[in-house]
């Protein structure tokens, strides 16, 4: 009997990654994300050339075995720049999502748990941030703070705070109305204990899903900002600025556009698909 009970406990403890792997889409997302992460982490080891090294004799060279994805108008190796660009994209994505998730969690918790005036004020501020198109707001912030990679991350981070605040607030409110929170209060637990021990773990699922989805949004925003020249600055490689530089040579050297665009699409698609799969696994109720 003991063994039987233990066995039934298993589905809950089964690794989330394994559950995602069982779904075809989840598997695709996981593979895509893993590929990008490996490329980014190993970039210094596997890139054939230095990102800034120019090859004057091979300007705008077509893809070949030497230059896998061809070269740009300075003769720089596109493949090396793309995998270094993956690094930049992921770092910007992760750091900015951490910023927005961190603040969003705090604001969402406060708004959802304390309700009343505090909630209205927080939501009002979030609505104001929400009202601006995200790229426009990020551009404002960067032009106010100055262009640098850190400021880009801060800008994208701020822009995404409202989404997290709303997600966390909504989940906190629904968890709060559950009887087990009422019960926790009626046995005399302190609000802090209820918040961290009983509410936080129960809102983690939508929070994690939101983080995965926000990551792809952050990558896209960074690419757009760099495309407009207000994101990552040269000589640091970024997919967005590579696309921007490539505009002039699009007709004679299409690989300059194709490969960065392909990687942007691959990254965003992978994270979105992974996010969806994560949601299906963590919170089956949300499945459409």
């Amino acid at each position: 009997m003991q063994a039987q009970v233990k066995q039934r406990a298993l589905p809950g403890n089964e690794s989330v990654l394994r559950l995602i792997w069982q779904e075809p889409l989840g598997r695709a997302g996981l593979l895509g994300v893993t590929l990008i992460v490996i490329l980014a982490v190993l970039a210094p080891l596997i890139s054939p050339f230095d990102v800034a090294k120019m090859h004057p004799k091979a300007k705008l060279a077509a893809p070949s075995f030497v230059y896998l994805f061809g070269t740009d108008h300075f003769g720089r190796d596109v493949f090396s720049r793309i995998i270094h660009g993956a690094r930049v994209s992921l770092v910007v994505g992760i750091v900015s999502v951490s910023i927005s998730a961190g603040f969003g969690y705090i604001f969402g918790m406060i708004a959802g748990f304390f309700e009343g005036k505090t909630e209205s004020v927080i939501l009002m501020i979030m609505d104001v941030i929400f009202a601006f198109p995200s790229i426009l707001l990020a551009l404002f912030i960067v032009s106010a703070l100055g262009t640098s990679i850190v400021n880009t991350m801060i800008a994208i981070g701020i822009v995404n705070i409202p989404v997290f605040t709303r997600t966390v607030r909504a989940s906190v409110k629904s968890v709060k109305s559950m009887d087990y929170i009422k019960n926790a209060r009626s046995v005399g637990l302190k609000p802090a204990v209820i918040l961290f021990k009983h509410i936080t773990p129960n809102v983690l699922a939508p929070f994690t899903v939101q983080a995965t989805l926000a990551l792809s949004g952050a990558v896209l925003t960074e690419a757009s900002m760099s495309f407009l020249g207000l994101g990552i600055q040269p000589p640091n490689p970024s997919w967005g600025s590579m696309l921007s530089d490539a505009r002039k040579y699009m007709e004679i050297a299409p690989w300059l556009v194709i490969f960065p665009a392909l990687f942007i699409i691959l990254t965003i698609l992978s994270f979105n698909v992974l996010g969806d799969a994560l949601r299906d696994v963590l919170d089956p109720k949300l499945k459409l």
Partner: protein, 330 residues
Amino acid sequence: MKNLLEIRGLQIRTPRGKDVIKLVDKVDLDVGKKQSFGIVGESGCGKSITANALMQLLPYPLEVSGGTARFDGKNGEVELLSLTADRMRSLRGREIAMIFQEPMTALDPIFTVAFQMEEAIRFHNASINKKEMRERALEMLRRVNIPRPEQTLDSYPHQLSGGQLQRIMIAIALMNNPKLLIADEPTTALDVTIQAQILDLMNELKETADTSIIMITHDLGVIAETCQHVAVFYAGQVVEEADVGSIFHQTAHPYTIGLLRAVTSLGGEEKKLYTIPGIVPPGGLWGQGCRFADRCVKRMDKCIKDMPALAEVAPGHKCRCFLHSGEVEA
């Protein structure tokens, strides 16, 4: 203090737009020591929020706007409604405990039963060690007749049935020997056979644990089986109050009569289940007269103009109806 709990003039209200809406209106209740006190009424009568107000657990934006609730606690008499948050917290679980309607959601799904039982002990007994806590939890599970308590302790809520969970909730509630147990529709979500078991269990525990029970329910069958004294709530007021025998046999208020007729019975002669026409008027839509007047079969002209007072119709039996007393509410 003669009684365990004396509620006087309890009022609960909620803001709606610019207005303030009364939800509970001047309720007086006396709960005796070791008594089981039933509160019965339809949904939306203010039964649950009355109980929640006693523990200062009213959901936002509801608030208590008047009245007192004196409670004869373990450390002397306290007034529950004006206690500071900290003192209230030390009372919850230790002196007043509560069980809820939905046992399936009353335990946190991500922690084991043991964790949640220990949490309830630890908070009020700082010095207790892990082993003692587990002993205590096991003992409580045995008291509420859980088969295989050791195993149950290490289960997660989703592995247990509704009946088992409600037993565990009762065990948690009684863990610190509270003087008052508030049971908010403890059997509504359970099927009939389990209902009977849970009610038997509560009766049994009341005898052994020296605890008073406030049983909130809309089921007169539950009242008949467990309570000694009953208050019938209607639209935020007490409309009839008496010992359980008088409520069932010398029923005075037309609303209570309606409730009694609406009880399903096996082998009854009526072919169709009786229902009281209409719904409880929500807060804000109460007229100046009797709040039951709209639905009452014995309505008189007077009922629409004036509010009857809760007057004694027999010793210990109060009723709010002009059929029995001409007294008008001040």
